[in-house]
Symmetry: C2
Subunit: 279 residues, 2 copies
């Protein structure tokens, strides 16, 4: 199964558009997982595994953010985490959030890192260096490539909102370029922040039913109703899909004691249901 | 000393604008460093250390490319390599070529990775997500941040050459934005490919004496004379500076046997001299 097929199946099977982002910050872990050097002793893996096992039937995908592992020399724990998800929760795709972008020969190395070393089903990538910087990922035909388009941070407008002619902003140009050119093999998706629902709607208009990864609900304050209505695909009898709506901190750190995984499950369940009310 | 000060001192001390890029590909190593699983046994470190020790008096900086280490699970060898450079060749700055770009809370983790874990003096970063995605790096006041501007690959034009109004291309906008805003603390530099000398000249015009990291000579075919004349700063009695002209493959793989480090030194020396003829 390709990444896109796994995602579609998970949307249906778990009746969910929720992506749980795995951004493990040991400083925010429950006390029993803390302690000097805890991150070296597998506590990052233990924390993430508990979150994954508590939420796997409520999500359409998981998205580990590699920076949180790299900052703690915990690449081995990231390898173990992705392997655990594939073994214990088969069919739930894993997106490696790495936002890489480099020339072809280097991008080949990043593709090896994401797909062969970590076994991710999809990777996020930065479009600034153009199509040939993305092709090494696309060479893995069963994998997905999720390009940054309109990001949820305040500085996102610095470049992405520039007018590039023809009445288009840069993020719209990226959406059209990916939809009409880079996605010829059907492996692409786009990142569009929940903090800009009007722009989610615009990207949806430009990209047909391409999946959109939407960060920015939860801690970043994006509105669920506006996000879902702007970005969902399909208008038949079945609930809309087409979205991976990410929440990280609001779920990971919902609880601060040994019952943190139960608290995470409760928030994940509420978030899934809140999303489903507007599908 | 800050990154910029170290770079300026190295330009003078080694009379060199040459940056040696450390992109170790075990498939291209000399036979005596190859063999099954060689990359796990420290051969990536051994190869790079030989190159570094053979060229350290000929360069203004070294630039390890993290993808080549990550693809081989060799983060520990990258840590050892940067530590070796600092210990054995003090004063030669190390640029971690990572081209990261993410929202502030994640960029903080990437800054920890680059500066605290690896001990790099500067890091390359992608400007697509805007100023707040760069600020966590700038918070390390003695470190440098080198932003992608005009990249040397063919697809670089896909976005960077878009007209963003006011007669400016996107790469020119990035150059001006970095020079006039993001560089308020004097920590920034830009990446401009040697494959586009006219655009190096344009970026030089927009950025005063900001250092430019120029990949694309050697294997990628950029012209040394045109690059140096377009990008050098200063026009007094002393040779121009302002450039870090990168060569990776042409130096690393100059020789294929046990004398590979001598061959690398010879090519590095020739490249430095070829650059110096036009300063």
């Amino acid at each position: 199964m390709t990444f896109i097929q796994s995602l579609q199946a998970a949307w249906q099977r778990n009746d969910s558009l929720l992506c749980v982002g795995l951004d493990p910050d040991p400083a925010k872990f429950p006390v029993h997982l803390c302690g000097r050097g805890a991150e070296k002793n597998g506590s990052i893996f233990e924390f993430c595994r508990s979150i994954v096992d508590a939420t796997a039937d409520l999500v359409c995908c998981f998205k580990p953010q590699i920076a949180y592992f790299a900052a703690h020399r915990a690449e081995d724990q990231l390898e173990a985490l992705v392997a655990h998800i594939h073994l214990t929760h088969p069919g739930i795709p894993v997106i490696l959030d790495a936002k890489r972008g480099d020339i072809g020969s280097t991008a080949e190395q990043y593709a090896i890192e994401a797909f062969e070393r970590y076994g991710a089903d999809a990777v996020t990538a930065n479009p600034y260096m153009g199509r040939d910087s993305v092709e090494p990922y696309l060479a893995y035909k069963d994998k997905g490539v999720i390009l940054l388009c309109r990001t949820s941070n305040p500085g996102g407008s610095d470049l992405q909102f520039l007018d590039v002619g023809g009445g288009m902003k840069l993020y719209e140009h990226v959406a059209r370029l990916v939809a009409e050119d880079w996605n010829s093999s059907g492996q692409c998706a786009l990142v569009v922040g929940a903090t800009f629902p009007a722009e989610i709607a615009r990207v949806r208009e430009l990209t047909g039913d391409m999946p959109l990864l939407v960060p920015g609900i939860g801690a970043q304050g994006g509105d669920i109703e506006a996000t879902v209505k702007a970005g969902r695909t399909g208008n038949g009898d079945r609930p809309g899909t087409g979205l991976m709506i990410n929440s990280s901190r609001a779920i990971l750190y919902a609880g601060k004691d040994e019952h943190f995984a139960d608290a995470a499950r409760r928030v994940a369940s509420e978030t899934r249901d809140a999303i489903n009310r507007f599908r």
